[in-house]
Subunit: 343 residues, 2 copies
Amino acid sequence: MKKRTTIHDLAKQLSLDSSTVSRALRGSPLVKQKTKDIVNDLAIKLNYKPNRLASNLRSNKSNTIGVIVPRISRHFFSSAISGIEEEAYKKGYNILICQSQDKFKYESKNIDNLLHNRVDGLIISLSLETRDLSHFSELFESETPIVFFDRVPMNALEYRPIIKIVNDDEAISYNATTHLINQGCERIAYHSGPDSISIYNARLKGYYKALKKASIPILKNMIFYSNLMLKDGVDFARKILELKKLPDAIYSANDTTALSSMQYLKSQGIRIPQDIKMIGFSDEPASAMSDPTLTTVDQSGVEMGKVAVKKITDLIENREEMQLQSNQIITMNSTLIIRESSR
Amino acid sequence: MKKRTTIHDLAKQLSLDSSTVSRALRGSPLVKQKTKDIVNDLAIKLNYKPNRLASNLRSNKSNTIGVIVPRISRHFFSSAISGIEEEAYKKGYNILICQSQDKFKYESKNIDNLLHNRVDGLIISLSLETRDLSHFSELFESETPIVFFDRVPMNALEYRPIIKIVNDDEAISYNATTHLINQGCERIAYHSGPDSISIYNARLKGYYKALKKASIPILKNMIFYSNLMLKDGVDFARKILELKKLPDAIYSANDTTALSSMQYLKSQGIRIPQDIKMIGFSDEPASAMSDPTLTTVDQSGVEMGKVAVKKITDLIENREEMQLQSNQIITMNSTLIIRESSR
DNA sequence: TATTAAAATACAATCGATTGTATTTTAATA
DNA sequence: TATTAAAATACAATCGATTGTATTTTAATA
């Protein structure tokens, strides 16, 4: 590896001290303009690039934001990461991305690893298995700012201020269900994720509320729980077909299962939306490509990612003032995208 | 921020020198077992975590691999990143992920940024706009190992050894086309990406070869070029419908356009696969959900990502020997997934 | 021209770990 | 017990940048 130009090389060539060069490069008012000019000129000439490792060590700032998501390749998360990357790049931060694979164990390890790397802040969406925050204790102690998004802790954390960025899950879920009711549906089956997870809990609540508002009785045998994987959609559809009386609509808490349910139902001769109307959640690319195209909720992961970075950098850069604030919950607006499957 | 335990804290408490503590923690044979034990015990007790910034600075290794992809949220790339993350985590490396947004300008900036951060190696898939490697010159000079994957430079780089990981694009493209021919197709339209990009170039070649092999004349008006965005699929389908004689098959160089073409064709009353058979490329999740389901090529981005990390860490850790080797091209096997759209 | 304040620069310590080498301790041998 | 080699530990420098403070230079004023 070729030796890179350092601040000392510049200093020597210009018969200056490295401290003056350092200040000159960062535009400090303590340095004369003329000196700044000659330093900058030489820096460009010798292609000087500050060594981040060194400056980070000295300033005790890693200039890095840790990001933990369940799975990078899931569309919502890769969109969020995309937004995070864009915004972090703009603000001059690097991001360190880890995936928990929806396992509590990996999530713990990831947190540990990010602590090791002295990240300035953490943006995280919790794993399916996460029910408490015991594995955050060290992170809390180190006072690293944390922003939770999408899958956030269900309870407020009294002992330290925290930022949560969530979707308006309950409200949009209410809208989605109401949309089905407006289409004349009365028997609306619901496929939920684990209700220990904030988002699924909220979506379920919205569903309940809409039924209640419309005075439609809530039938417990129309509500199913799973981890919302592809095959769960098929299982769910099978169970639906075993019901004495078929539902006239199915609402699933994600698109993956909505689509796999749809596919199975179609294979069994059920017509969508004529026999059963369907709604999913998240607006996966596949949902615009299915036949019929799937009504769903656009969550805008990109935007959520950007907001998460804005918040975490606020926390990092104005630590004092921000820390004084109490828990903060930011709610993003999502949109119901009405497509063929519910018309 | 609470002060973290350092190697000096341990040293002081044990009346040892920091150098001995450092060696003890890393299991150096220069330190007595008993000393190692008491050091490790205290390290656990005080929850010591080595400061990576400091050790990286000293050892002049960032322990970080830079990753540049066109877009994080594209399924193939998020899968690749997922594989990269998994393997890098196993090997104790961090990854710094950037997206070029398929722009040459951003790709340059990303390279610059990663250089700043002194990454130990770079894994990259080139942007659509990248036609030469002029923006790599500094990286080459710094002798940072590089692994290209998927979209790789078209020409061998004589002046330095480089690893490329590619799909068997040409071969699988040949197979895909032959599959259509075997299904009785003779007029196979092809929707290509820019042929300045390695993968599209190779896929086109495979298509040509298969036609030649079957003595089917190559009709230039059946071949279209675009950037393969969603709307390009619609444009392509429109042009297809304007042809005096319709093709009996369409082969698209990615799934996104294959699916949007399919959707448009269906909306115009064309039956798939009865009137026109279709094949895409990449096995996006949507392709298993469309109606008909789309025949496509499974590229296994996850596996490619893992291999990329294995290769880059080989380069980083055995720099000398590896540098002696000449250019290396690793070809991954992909699979043709035959679904309804081509039967 | 001498004095003084302000501006510019240099000095020195530091961030936390690592590493070559010097020194001390321990164990082995005469 | 004295000598010597080996083992264990301490010392000191270093990675490259940053920052508080001391020193020098420059400019302003008497």
